[in-house]
C-alpha cells in the first residue's frame, strides 16, 4: 500500500503542506517494500482546478492513501473516484504524520473541508 503526504520538501523530515492542490511535493511511502520517495506536485502549476490535477497525479502513482490538510470539493470527488482515502492532519513533519496515521490518530475525511478555491 502506498501512502502519500502533501509536503513542502522531499524528505520525511520536511513539513506537511496542508494545501493538497498547492503543495510542492508528495512524499510517498510504500508499506510493503518500506521504500520512500518524493514526487513533485505538477498539479499545483495547472491554471485552474489544481485539486483535480493533483488527484490524477496521485492516481497515476498508484497511491492508496493521502495525508493532507485541506481538500476542496472537486479534489475530494476525484480522489473518491480514484479510491484514494484521505486522512487529514494539521501540522508537523512528514514522519510525525505517518506515525500518527499508523497509530490510527488521524481522522479520515468523509467530505471536502474547504471551498472550491482552497479557502
Amino acid at each position: 500500500m502506498r501512502v502519500a503526504v502533501s509536503a513542502s520538501g522531499q524528505t520525511q523530515l520536511d513539513e506537511l503542506n496542508p494545501r493538497l492542490g498547492r503543495c510542492e511535493y508528495f512524499v510517498i511511502v510504500d508499506d510493503v517494500s518500506g521504500e520512500t520517495w518524493a514526487i513533485e506536485n505538477t498539479g499545483r502549476l495547472s491554471t485552474g482546478a489544481a485539486g483535480i490535477a493533483t488527484a490524477t497525479l496521485l492516481h497515476n502513482h498508484q497511491v492508496d492513501v493521502v495525508i493532507t490538510g485541506n481538500v476542496g470539493p472537486n479534489a475530494f470527488t476525484a480522489l473518491e473516484a480514484a479510491e484514494i482515502k484521505v486522512y487529514t492532519g494539521t501540522k508537523g513533519k512528514v514522519q510525525d504524520l505517518l506515525e500518527q496515521y499508523r497509530n490510527g490518530n488521524l481522522s479520515k475525511a468523509s467530505g471536502p473541508n474547504v471551498g472550491p478555491h482552497g479557502s
Binding site: 495547472s46 491554471t47 485552474g48 482546478a49 489544481a50 483535480i52 490535477a53 488527484a55 490524477t56 492516481h59 472537486n74 470527488t77 476525484a78 473516484a81 480514484a82 479510491e83 472550491p116
Partner: protein, 282 residues
C-alpha cells in the same frame, strides 16, 4: 453610446456612479439602459424599486458521459485544458463547475460517448420604467465562470439607447467582457495607494484594448493628490470627484442613490455625461 464603468477592486463606488449617472440621464431624448454585469453580486436593482418584467435563464453546454459507449481511452482528459474531466479506476468523472464549454472533448471522443447537455449557469432579469431599462445578470451559486452570463446581459444592449454597463471589480477576464466594444470606460477609484495600484492596471488594460477612459475619484479628500498626479502624468481626464462624506455613505447604505439623496449632483452627472460624449467624438 455605450459607457462601461470599471474599477480595480470592489467597493470603490462603481454602482454609486452607475446608478446616479443613469438617473441623471432619464430626461434625455434617448432611452437609458443600465446593465448590471457584476453578476457575482448584482446590486443595482436595490436602488430602483422596479418590478422585474421578465427573466431568462442562461445555459452552457457541458459534456455528459454515456458509460456504455465510453472506452476509457482518455482522449477527452488529454484535450481538456481545464481539468474538467478525470479518468480514475475506469470511471470518467466530469466536473461541471470547472468546464469552460469549449466542446473539445465531445468533438474528439472517438465513440461519441460524450454529448453536450445544457447546464444552467445564471439568469438575466429585465425591469422597465418609462424609457429606462435595467438589465441584471446573476451567476448561479456554485458557478465561477461569469463571462457567459455577462455576454447574455450585454446581448440585451439596444443600439439606440444610452447604455451604461456596471461591471465586476478587478481587471481580469470578466472585466474585459464588459469593456469590450464600449465607446468609453469610466474608472472609479479612491485616493489610496491600493486605489492607484488598481487604477494603473485598469488603464493599462484599456490602452491595450484601445478604449478611451476617464477617472472618477470617490471618497476624495482635498489633501490627497495621489490620483491627480497619476492622471496628469497620463493625460487622463478627471471626470468627477465625490468627497468622503458620511451623509453620502449613509444614504447609499440605505439604498438611496447619490442624485436622490442630494439633487445638486444631478447637473454634475449630466456634465460628466456630456464630457464623455465630447471625448468620444474627438
Amino acid at each position: 453610446m455605450r459607457i462601461s464603468i470599471a474599477s480595480g477592486k470592489g467597493g470603490t463606488g462603481k454602482t454609486l456612479v452607475a446608478t446616479s449617472l443613469a438617473l441623471s440621464l432619464m430626461d434625455q431624448p434617448r432611452p437609458v439602459q443600465l446593465l448590471d454585469c457584476d453578476v457575482e453580486e448584482p446590486n443595482a436593482h436595490i436602488f430602483f424599486k422596479m418590478k422585474q418584467a421578465g427573466s431568462q435563464k442562461v445555459f452552457l453546454p457541458i459534456p455528459k458521459v454515456d458509460y456504455d459507449q465510453c472506452q476509457y481511452c482518455g482522449k477527452c482528459v488529454e484535450v481538456c485544458q481545464f481539468n474538467a474531466i478525470a479518468l480514475m479506476k475506469r470511471t470518467l468523472v466530469i466536473f461541471p463547475d470547472v468546464c469552460h464549454s469549449c466542446g473539445g472533448c465531445w468533438y474528439l471522443c472517438p465513440t461519441e460517448a460524450l454529448q453536450p447537455t445544457p447546464r444552467e449557469v445564471g439568469a438575466v432579469g429585465i425591469s422597465q420604467s418609462g424609457s429606462f431599462t435595467l438589465v441584471s445578470g446573476t451567476l448561479k451559486l456554485g458557478t465561477h465562470i461569469s463571462p457567459p452570463v455577462i455576454k447574455a446581459v450585454r446581448a440585451k444592449e439596444d443600439p439606440d439607447s444610452i447604455v451604461i454597463i456596471d461591471g465586476p471589480p478587478g481587471s481580469s477576464c470578466p472585466v474585459m467582457t464588459i469593456v469590450d466594444g464600449t465607446d468609453y470606460c469610466i474608472l472609479v477609484t479612491e485616493p489610496t495607494p491600493f486605489g492607484l495600484n488598481d487604477l494603473v492596471l485598469a488603464v493599462e488594460m484599456l490602452q491595450v484594448l484601445g478604449i478611451a477612459c476617464g477617472v472618477v475619484i470617490n471618497r476624495d479628500v482635498p489633501e490627497n493628490d495621489i490620483i491627480d498626479r497619476y492622471c496628469e502624468d497620463k493625460g487622463l481626464p478627471i471626470l468627477l470627484r465625490i468627497p468622503l462624506k458620511t451623509e453620502i455613505a449613509r444614504a447609499y447604505a440605505k439604498g438611496i442613490t447619490l442624485v436622490e439623496s442630494d439633487p445638486h449632483w444631478k447637473p454634475k452627472f449630466l456634465e460628466l455625461y456630456q464630457r464623455v460624449v465630447r471625448e468620444v467624438a474627438q
